[in-house]
Symmetry: D2
Subunit: 345 residues, 4 copies
């Protein structure tokens, strides 16, 4: 209806799916398969992922979306009186409408910092173990991080090693939420981290599809044997098992058959870096020094109004410096779009 | 790999999506839309559904699958001490791995019969109201039925009227699970029931997509104003809100733009009736006289083994008469397939 | 106020506590002790109970009431997708306002019979193990029985052995709710069962105080090592840990220091047997042949009205034969009271 | 065993009950009463409390302990996606082993400060109402405060008025946890607050018994009509309904028949003030300037070791200044004991 369409840069799910995925859906549409993720396409997809992970001993389950995945994974790991440690801005703590608490578990926010560190975990655990009245406190049993975080922050391989070693020292699970994992994996220069490192650095994780080129879907990778049994029962109980499970298989098949997943991450990150550098040249301030596909710029209210006429961005928060806006790139973003955006400044 | 592929008739989700749906996905893939079901395609789909329902006052939400939908709807309606009445073979009671109980609510099984009747509800309510120690019992607050049931049984318009009137008399909600609603709507001759009757016959219902031609998705129709507010919070909390919500919109857009949903139901039911009649002629016994797309045949173990070589069917149960097998037809089933099946007898 | 006080025979908690308990409370009132059940009086009480059980390897926790105890024990044993088997009339299924479901677990009612048998458990487990789509069903992991049952029915030692062996065969826990255990233990002649047999016949149980002479309180006996760790966390989380825990210790100290618990059960049962025999002589019909402190008589409505003027009884149900009334005896019931009651017929 | 008994000042539940309560228990022990809090003694106790509250329109329920009470009250008020605001050190947030989360609700910690203010609530609500993506966040619907707080901090009448007005402005419930209410009521000089003010300053509250002279028990006062219906169902479901409910009635009967509850608070507070003043004279530092029965002193580790030989105190935390110890007075504390304690410095 409008003469000029507003361009959406506010999030990484404003687009459809990568064309290869739609193509595969079309090709396989008339096949008959069994349901609930036990079909051959899912089986193939699992093989591809295992090959990339260089690990045959993991269990892989395909779930529908991030909140649902966090809910199933966390509630599968914890006993009633146990909770999960998170940074204050962790997705499970802020943006899932209490999905974890709805399963009966406390999200224990232990820091306002942007990252969880091994030291923070140790401090919590020492207090927990030494507290004689600890029976009155929720017992921390899992550490939750997202990679990258809600603010696009990365963990280096070394940081993950330290964190996971600390978790093992105190008998806690480490769970990595990889909703935007493709973007973190595109930052090897900053992190020294490859996908095949991950099964050695956590007990359970998920590879995000929804925000990385898929229509929807997340692949849970269970490394720790203790978490493996009966996981599918929990999926079903939480409404997280897709009847036509092949749909999830198709998407991860395409993403991991070759290197599509990694290319998608690289493209989004490259464009975000281009945006960051060009805007920096123009003097735009950034709220956080993000190396991933989410960039948080600080602008005046007037500038925001101006931008709003042409771009849809996420209003993250307001502070004394001005308005913080989030811009996201994705597999579908073009350089032309980013150039238009840069030209606004 | 096999020279002859086993034909799947065991369930109604062994197939992909109706081609129109895939086509629409293809066409809209490069559009940018906002997420979480607030896009224009979802809006269009809601309009189409309202037109078929001849009702502008309902709220419509698109959810992912049946278990998840039942979980969100039921937990949105009940206070902690309230439960939902079901027949013993109700989907929520048998085949959802305790999804309702996982939200804290008892499924109160009140009969082994194949259908819930107004009389059963009244009997329960009279006892509930008269029981002086009722504070020790879960309070029934909702009646759950599926249309058709797990066994393909229908409710007539008259039966629904009686049931709903009884629910209103005792201040209970009536919730209709329409996972296979398209098939029930194809049986007007038996039921005298049209889709536009439904908003007058319940407080909340869902129109099933997964088993009726969609890739996945169920459309919740909220009639009762008391259930409307904040429903989206509950969706989000239970992991039932799709990020790229347009995917659900696309499917219901295609199903309800014209009459595709009804045609899909009719096709499945017609083939099932053909199967039933032909097998009856051949003397095959049926466990239940179903008028919908699920047919339950009784065969000997030897016959089962023979069938297993060419067809995948669901083993429903064994009893003294033999083995009960379920065969399902769908939008994708062909007459040729059914003829092959009939030829086995 | 009334010239003649109505005598209460409707339940076993219409009375205060056995006088020995009040005496001990008085004697210890000015002592200082630590809280939450870690005081010396609780420790002594545990010793006494272990001596009666002839078992030093059990963990003993004192909880407040039956519903709370069932809630804590069951939710401590089950993972989210697991449920507990019960007979339809089991206390957890009927009279706890969904307390078990409120912790997320289904109570799986497997029979309308008055007792759970090893055969019923096996039938359920065979189906569970053989069902290829079992992931859609709640997994039975615990068998719950009460001893005696809600209808005063007993299990013999042999029956418990069979039941427990079957549970072990299929890797299920057996939990015995002993709300009225004192009464069951008074029926050795019928059951061949002594208190020291119980730790060999279940994984976890509780010795009821509230209905057996205490003011309140139930002693959970954990036999199976798998259930022992962290039990106190669950108690605290469910609000079942008494701050001044000594109160529970005092009561079980008195009940088990010598044989008070057994004497209380014997007295109640002896009076109930006297009532049964005398009424039988007078031709009164019984709904169930109970050997414990609960007796269920069948009377006409006219008779009920007559009785109501002098006695408070529980109206259990009405059937075609008449009205079923429950009369309970307790530690405080006198032979004089029972004689008055018998004289009504 | 020890030549000199360690004196317990670590908490307010190391003692038995006020002697009047035991006396009443003795006197009424042989009465027969109905159960579950519907007896005449409970009825009398309710009358006495209403008289003190100068309010006939409240519903009063007697529950067993604090955690259980918080669990029942909060879960009765909130819908699944709603949470309760608390200060970080709130009892429900720190010392109830996740009891609130176990009912599915998030405790939203909004400040590290010692008190909740109207301004904090407003700030939260403005953000909540303005946030377009609020559907991804738990909705705050209740404010929880304790009076006094875990650190013995008071709210003045004016502060409560401001807080409650703000709650009403944004349609939030205000819940006052009065576990140690007797002590707060002894501080009229600081607060200008009388017990009869409270029903005008909150939607629901509880009058603590366990920490104020009773054996156990808390009296919930429901002011807001919206919270009243079906509350007993929730009590039962959470295991918070005592079978021999009269026990709770007896205790609140004695506490509120005349002024015992207020005398108990005054005694504890007077002794605490004496302790504070005398120790201040001796140069002891206090962590917090508490006017109630809990005093938090800062001592060196050496001093702590010395104290430990004669007194049991609660180790609250360690900081750079030294060790923080909590000393509590109660109805049973004597001046002699406090003098002995003071003499240690």
């Amino acid at each position: 209806m409008e003469t000029e369409k507003i361009i959406m840069l506010h999030c990484d799910y404003a687009e459809g799916a990568h064309p290869n995925i739609l193509k595969k859906m079309q090709e396989t549409n008339l096949l008959q398969t069994v349901g609930y993720g036990e079909d051959e396409i899912c089986a193939e997809a699992r093989k591809f992922i295992k090959k990339h992970l260089k690990n045959e001993n993991v269990d892989i389950h395909f779930l529908i979306g991030g909140t649902s995945t966090n809910q199933v994974v966390i509630s599968s790991c914890l006993r009633p009186f146990e909770g999960v440690l998170s940074i204050e801005s962790g997705h499970i703590n802020c943006h899932e409408t209490g999905a974890i608490e709805a399963t009966g578990h406390k999200v224990i926010s232990i820091t306002k910092e942007q990252k969880m560190t091994a030291e923070m975990v140790e401090k919590f655990c020492i207090l927990q173990e030494s507290n004689p009245s600890c029976v009155h406190c929720v017992r921390g049993k899992m550490v939750y991080i997202s990679l990258p975080t809600e603010y696009g922050i990365l963990y280096t391989k070394k940081e993950l090693e330290d964190l996971y070693n600390m978790c093992k020292k105190y008998n806690l699970y480490l769970f990595i939420d990889g909703a935007r994992l493709a973007c973190a994996l595109a930052c090897y220069e900053q992190t020294n981290l490859k996908i095949e490192d991950l099964p050695n650095l956590c007990d359970v994780m998920y590879i995000g599809g929804t925000k990385c080129g898929a229509l929807f879907g997340e692949a849970v990778i269970i490394v720790n044997d203790a978490i493996k049994p009966y996981f599918r029962y929990n999926m079903k109980q939480r409404g997280a098992m897709l009847a036509k499970g092949r749909l999830l298989g198709i998407q991860f098949y395409e993403l991991f058959k070759d290197n599509l997943y990694f290319e998608i991450g690289k493209k989004a990150v490259d464009l975000a870096m281009y945006l960051k550098e060009e805007l920096k040249k123009k003097g735009v301030k950034f709220f956080i020094d993000s190396y991933t596909n989410q960039q948080f710029i600080i602008v005046s209210k007037e500038k925001k109004n101006e931008l709003d006429k042409k771009f849809c961005l996420t209003l993250w928060e307001e502070n004394e410096e001005g308005v913080i806006l989030r811009a996201c790139t994705s597999w579908a973003t073009t350089k032309e779009t980013i150039d238009k955006f840069i030209a606004m400044f």
